[in-house]
């Protein structure tokens, strides 16, 4: 049982929660995540630990509402508890001073990207961040990213904010302009796929943080498996970060849709029973 002690809306669909979890706060490093379950009948889902405060014994989560479980968590209020929180899970990000790091984030990937950006900046790198979304309202964490990046480039599909274009347009502009030593990409699998194709063209080492489906998060079930360099890897224990050039994104894309129909039905059902969350 972990109590929520702060809540903030970044947008209608994105919420920041500060949650009591003293043990996890103490051991957490950038790149770690937790598995969260809410309610007796809830599902277990992974969420990145965006920040931790060792003294207060709290961790910060940023949740984007995409389906039933994320919606349920977004609706929790200060004083409520999350039934189960376990972690820190996964391998921490490998942070090094490499020179210039080009990070890119979109959709559910922006929250997990934030601690990575922060850590690379702290290690003394020049950090350039490209954030992408369909439209202005969907750009989140811009301010926080600016705080830890030397430059932030915003891309929107419809041009309603920043520049018009895809994440890869923003990235290519940087790559053509200056030397990039490392690229980090976190977001929907399609986005990571195209970002990785782009950096491949320029031979830039690239790390992707993969957001596969998970159940236990401890290496027990294999739900999170992906092919990396022709081998099966478990994202929860071997990752979540991998050499992006070796990841089979097409396979990952398909696997992410395993329950698409049933999840969509469940979400519609949920929305019709919870009018306030529309």
């Amino acid at each position: 049982m972990n109590k929520i002690i702060e809540k903030e809306y970044f947008s209608e669909a994105v919420v920041r929660l500060v949650v009591e979890a003293p043990h996890i706060a103490r051991r957490r490093k950038a790149g770690h995540f937790v598995i969260v379950k809410t309610g007796e009948k809830g599902e277990r889902i992974p969420l990145t630990i965006v920040a931790a405060d060792m003294e207060k014994g709290t961790i910060t989560l940023i949740i984007q509402r995409v389906g039933v479980t994320s919606a349920k968590i977004c609706e929790l209020e200060v004083g409520d508890v999350i039934t189960d929180v376990v972690g820190p899970l996964g391998k921490p990000t490998h942070i090094e001073k490499v020179g210039t790091v080009l990070t890119s984030g979109g959709g559910v990937g922006v929250a997990p990207l934030l601690p990575i950006v922060e850590a690379f900046k702290q290690a003394g790198n020049r950090v350039i961040t490209v954030l992408a979304a369909r439209k202005k309202e969907l750009i989140i964490l811009e301010e926080q990213m600016r705080e830890h990046s030397d430059e932030v480039i915003i891309m929107t599909d419809d041009g309603s904010y920043g520049k018009q274009g895809l994440v890869t347009n923003g990235m290519e502009e940087v790559i053509q302009r200056e030397q990039v030593d490392l690229a980090v990409t976190v977001g929907p699998a399609v986005m990571m796929k195209f970002a990785t194709m782009l950096t491949g063209k320029y031979n830039i080492p690239t790390v992707a943080s993969l957001n596969t489906l998970m159940v236990d998060g401890t290496g027990m079930c294999g739900a999170c498996r992906v092919s990396v360099g022709g081998k099966t890897k478990f994202v929860c224990v071997d990752g979540p970060e991998f050499n992006a050039h070796e990841v089979d994104f097409d396979e990952m894309l398909l696997r992410l849709d395993s329950y698409k129909t049933s999840e969509a039905e469940a979400y519609e059902n949920y929305l019709s029973n919870h009018p306030k969350s529309k």
Binding site: H23, I24, R26, R27, K37, K41, G42, E43, R44, V68, T69, T83, D84, V85, V86, G87, P88, L89, V215, D216, T218, G219, M220, C221, G222, A223, R225, V226, S227, T232, F234, V237, E251, L254, R255, D257, S258, Y259, S262, E263, A266
Partner: protein, 493 residues
């Protein structure tokens, strides 16, 4: 050892047992037919998750108890990894003293309602029964009787809590809440220790909860046994991964003096054949966890599972049987076991194989999968299998399966459950570099004491054995408790 035979002898000479023995001649006792437990109708039970075995009636139990000869040398006990005083508990049944009988079970077994259901009795206690060894008859139904008593006690509302020595205030930690950890926790609590069990998942019980299905072992039964441990003062901390949430060093700083690692076998094995990552291909751990731990089959719960119409389960162990029988219950039209050896070589218990057959599971023995194919959405739709034949026996003594060239064919399926074994859980070895592990990843211990290469750290169950049974894991837990107690007694705090 002598102490034990002395105790058994004294117990056997108690007046009530002498009287009972006199009540009926052995000649009459051995004429009684072994009881057979009533089972749910296969055509009904394969559609829901109610328990298959119905248990014995009081009459059946007392009659079966009469079969036991109360042997001078009760060999049956040597077949039980936790050394239950079998004739004593059975004679209490014959005498109609059921709650007394339950006390006997609990002297050495923390989870009798579990063991009575899932122990492979036919290769343990019952195999060592006088009837099997000397009379060439069906053994006394020790497992059925154990279950009868455990259930009787659970339903009586008068669950006895074992006696506990005076609390000594020494804190010990147990990592993992499977049978090894639970048996350890029970014994240490009895000895007066302050025991905390840390569990990575959100439920206590290990494989008993996430692996073995409801129709063989209802969660309710497991929870009642865990309640007794709670009453004995054992503390349970869920959602806590030792090695991640805190290290063993951290726990030492919090005052824990010794550790028992019962972290089980976690990592599912795959066959690494083409197409194995298509949608609809599960490890048995994932499939069973979704259904058992997360209740995916119940629409009230949020976790989904694919309930296929043509389900292939690869493997021949208990886990494969549990998965294939689960798939039937989720509504599959065809549920098929695909196993590369013959039915005789399957490691699953005979009872499980028979139950699966009765429930309409198809068996494709001597077949091996080679490749999976998917439709345009990435969902598995077909598989290529090859026929096999048996060659010379291999190191395990089982005949080696050999592929028959040119025998490949494809078959339509829409869900696959890969059940080809698990590897030890790597979390603890990874977080404790000084711990000696074998090349398979199991923790190396002294088999007499269960002590690992790190002082004060003991281990048992699947993390040591690679994969075993509930009762062997429990036996390890008890052994570890015994030697940890000796170790802690010699130290000053």
């Amino acid at each position: 050892m002598d102490e034990v035979s002395e105790y058994l002898k004294n117990e056997r000479e108690q007046e009530w047992r002498v009287t009972l023995r006199g009540n009926m001649k052995n000649k009459e006792r051995i004429q009684i037919e072994r009881v057979s437990m009533t089972e749910q109708d296969p055509e009904k039970r394969n559609k829901d998750f109610t328990e298959v075995n119905c248990g014995l009636s009081e009459e059946e139990a007392r009659r079966e108890a009469q079969r036991c000869l109360d042997c001078v040398n009760p060999t049956c006990i040597t077949g039980c990894p936790v050394g239950i005083n079998i004739p004593k508990f059975i004679k209490r049944i014959e005498a109609g003293e059921f709650l007394e009988s339950a006390r006997v079970l609990k002297e050495t077994n923390t989870l009798p309602a579990v063991c009575g259901r899932v122990c492979p009795q036919e290769v343990q206690c019952e195999q060592a029964c006088f009837y099997t060894l000397k009379l060439n008859k069906s053994p006394v139904a020790i497992g059925h009787l154990e279950r009868y008593i455990a259930d009787y006690e659970q339903n009586s509302g008068k669950m006895s809590v074992p006696d506990i020595l005076e609390k000594n205030g020494v804190k010990v930690a147990c990592i993992g809440s499977g049978p090894a950890g639970l048996a350890f926790a029970g014994d240490m609590a009895k000895k007066g220790y302050d025991v905390t069990v840390f569990e990575a998942l959100h439920e206590i019980g290990g494989v008993l909860k996430y692996g073995i299905p409801e129709f063989r072992l209802p969660n309710r039964v497991v929870d009642m046994e865990i309640d007794v441990l709670k009453k004995m003062g054992v503390k349970f901390v869920k959602n806590f991964i030792v090695g991640a949430t805190a290290s063993i060093e951290d726990l030492k700083k919090e005052g824990f003096k010794a550790f028992m690692v019962g972290s089980g076998a976690g990592l599912p094995n795959f066959m690494h054949i083409p197409g194995e990552n298509y949608i609809g291909i599960y490890s048995s751990n994932e499939y069973l966890t979704r259904v058992n731990l997360m209740n995916a089959a119940d629409p009230e719960y949020d976790t989904p599972v694919i309930s296929g119409k043509k389900v292939a389960v690869i493997g021949g162990g208990n886990t494969a049987m549990d998965a294939v029988r689960t798939s039937k219950r989720l509504g599959a039209e065809r549920s098929i076991i695909i196993y590369r050896r013959s039915i005789e070589e399957m490691p699953a218990r005979n009872e499980e194989i028979e139950h699966a057959q009765e429930e309409g599971v198809e068996f494709m023995n001597l077949h091996n999968p080679l490749e999976y194919y998917a439709d345009e959405n990435g969902r598995v739709c077909k598989m290529k299998v090859q026929k096999m034949k048996l060659g010379e026996p291999d190191a395990s003594g089982r005949r080696r399966p050999l592929p028959i060239e040119g025998s490949e064919f494809t078959m339509e399926i829409d869900t696959v459950v890969v059940s080809v074994g698990v590897s030890p859980n790597p979390l603890i070895p990874q977080s404790m570099k000084e711990l000696d592990v074998s090349k398979w990843g199991t923790i190396i211990v002294n088999s007499d004491t269960m002590h690992s290469s790190v002082e004060g750290v003991y281990a048992g169950g699947d993390i040591v054995r690679g994969g075993a049974t509930v009762i062997l894991a429990m036996g390890d837990g008890r052994k570890a408790a015994e030697s940890m107690d000796q170790y802690l007694k010699t130290r000053e705090f």
